[in-house]
Symmetry: C2
Subunit: 131 residues, 2 copies
DNA sequence: GTCAATGATACTAAATTTATATCATTTGTC
DNA sequence: GACAAATGATATAAATTTAGTATCATTGAC
């Protein structure tokens, strides 16, 4: 029932740290040292963030990762989408056949309303809110 | 990322059907026939609902399950709590050590706000909204 | 007493989340 | 150019949660 999974969490932490760092490149080794995130897992996450253009990576000695845009432009929902798929509180539970008696399910509308609220609120949240 | 898991779903369907039934007792066999839920799984769910006093069970020939309270008194959140644990959108992600630099995490307040809204909205939802 | 129902409980399977491991590629330094 | 330090790509494994199964015991109407 967690809305936010661990990889999203780790991504947030890593991006925050990189954003706060004075260097313009931060290596995995540095991040692991500070954030205590399992190294291979963090590597995977950073590679994904690189592919998704939230980070730019630099290979070779002295390499590492740098932010592409400033932290107040990085939306929490972007991270959630990347690691957890599209934000949907309700999936198929309240579709057609909920109660076989019923054609239109009023509950769905209620859930949809809540979902919209959550999404709109989350959309307003950037990493800047952490700093 | 589903807010509602399958057992909650099944519970909703079963309770709805029982509520709509003219009989005052509905057996698992009947429910399985109509709702197409795997029998042993449904049995488990109904047993839980019985223990949690949302259903009353009757053993023996002609036995089955009956509602304890009317459908407009059964809250969706009750079912979610029973099958999915306490409703918390955010768990430990945005606690203390999010960004090691930071003491108080503003994001937590935002998430809390959303969570409260969701809970309050869900609290208003009963099975009656399905009928 | 029999049979049709639920109670209790232990087990299995599938899916998702959370990692781990390894080899390839790039690049700065000597 | 060799080497070392970094990331890229990718396959696999472990842990957890969700979903489902199976079985024997108990109850109660007939």
């Amino acid at each position: 029932m967690k809305l936010i999974t661990r990889d999203t969490d780790y991504a947030v932490r890593a991006l925050c740290f990189i954003s706060g760092s004075k260097k313009n490149r931060v290596s995995v080794g540095e991040l692991v040292g500070v954030l205590k995130i399992p190294r291979p897992f963090l590597r995977k996450i950073l590679q994904i963030l690189n592919k998704k253009k939230l980070l730019k990576s630099y290979k070779g000695q002295g390499g590492g990762f740098a932010l592409v845009k400033s932290h107040d432009k990085i939306l929490l929902t972007d991270l959630m989408k990347i690691f957890q798929g599209p934000l949907k509180l309700n999936e198929c539970v309240f579709k057609k056949q909920v109660c076989p008696n019923i054609k239109t399910c009023k509950l769905k509308k209620k859930i949809d309303k809540i979902e919209k609220y959550v999404i709109s609120e989350l959309k307003g949240i950037t990493l800047a809110h952490l700093l």
